[in-house]
Symmetry: C2
Subunit: 209 residues, 2 copies
DNA sequence: AGGATAATGACAGTCGCTGACAATTGACAA
DNA sequence: TTGTCAATTGTCAGCGACTGTCATTATCCT
């Protein structure tokens, strides 16, 4: 389980992530070559591609981890809770866990700066959106499960999740452009944006159709 | 305006689009090389990259054109119309124009098949989502203009557009997986999906805040 | 200790994409 | 018509992302 081999692999993987993030943040994503990342960790380029299928993957590694964390937190919520409230308050709760999880791999500050890099790098933003779409679909299924409806018949799970994630994307974008981007401001911004969401969405979720 | 030079350029551009689409549809996007496309039109690879900045662009050319068409149709609507109704009925109207516009460049059938290719090709889907995000932002501004609100203060334009485009993405995905994908079925599917959207979104748009 | 197994490095090759420069072709005036 | 200018194109060289292959090294297990 925790053999030398495993630990070594984990360490090089983390080292690659940290080195890549530092380079991306300082020189930008496009102008950083995979060779530079590999050299910084003193492995061959070939080894890099054994850990990550492509350059995007290492750049979005933490982002994807955070999204997965959020999804799992949503699933762990009591089913009785109304779905929108569930999505919203999970967000409010999850930031501390995110901080802890990220810092097991890399300094938090590096992750925060990387979020900005993702927003301003077209190819990264594209890959990020695609991955988010997969997560959205999983959220739709979870919301459908909780409310006992079929997502293929009843459009409300998709409408709810689409609206929620859409607003969240906007919130994330606004937040990433702030100079004081931190977990605290992230919590504030998401709280503000999602608070305005409830009145805009119909609250008569209880009725079928 | 219509010199030989202009016409020749237009023709090679269209030929590149058609050739690329045929290859993408028959062999898949990833396994088609730019060299193959260029060879099919009998131009150099370098020339291809003078017409399109990258391989994605030629694959998404029609898709982007269609989205632009839709956006312009939305802007041309009477301002008095409620925004959701505007987005919805524009969609209902625009399909014929889409068919005409596409067929000026390539057979309609090729475009319909290409839509499926986009959905199943990760890198194309990603690029498509990124482009759609830009279009969404433009729609948000247009909705804000029509309703006389500030999209940076009032979240309702973003909520509305996010929900609408989110549901539309779902509709597009469902439609693209059908064996009888055509403009008629596209109109039907989008009509169905968007019709279910109104009740899910609050209709008290008139009130501020 | 030693053989099975997994991780790595080295190398060659493909493909997307770009810069530079020369050759060609259409536009336009003398 | 012809000569000049500008736009378009082809050729070539090169970079960077990514992959297959095979020999080498390092861990694991008995």
């Amino acid at each position: 389980m925790t053999g030398l081999r495993e630990r070594k692999k984990q360490r090089t993987r983390d080292a690659l992530i940290v080195a890549a993030h530092e380079l991306f943040v300082t020189q930008g994503y496009e102008s950083t070559t995979v060779d530079q990342i590999a050299e910084a960790v003193d492995v061959s380029q070939r080894t890099f591609f054994r850990y990550f299928t492509n350059k995007e993957e290492v750049a979005l590694f933490l982002q994807n981890m955070v999204e997965r964390l959020y999804y799992e937190a949503v699933c762990a919520r009591p089913v009785a809770e109304p779905p929108l409230e569930c999505l919203r308050s999970t967000l409010d709760d999850v930031w501390d866990d995110v901080g802890v999880a990220v810092e097991e791999i890399t300094p938090l500050d590096l992750y925060l700066k990387m979020c900005q890099v993702i927003e301003v790098t077209p190819s990264l933003l594209a890959a990020h959106l695609r991955h988010s779409l997969l997560m959205e679909e999983k959220l739709v299924q979870e919301v459908a499960r909780r409310t006992g409806v079929d997502a293929d018949q009843d459009p409300r799970p998709r409408v709810l999740v689409a609206a929620f994630t859409g607003v969240m994307r906007t919130a994330a974008r606004q937040w990433s452009m702030r100079s004081d981007a931190s977990l605290e401001t992230a919590r504030e911004v998401t709280r503000d944006y999602t608070a305005q969401l409830s009145p805009a969405l119909g609250s008569d979720w209880g009725r079928r159709r």
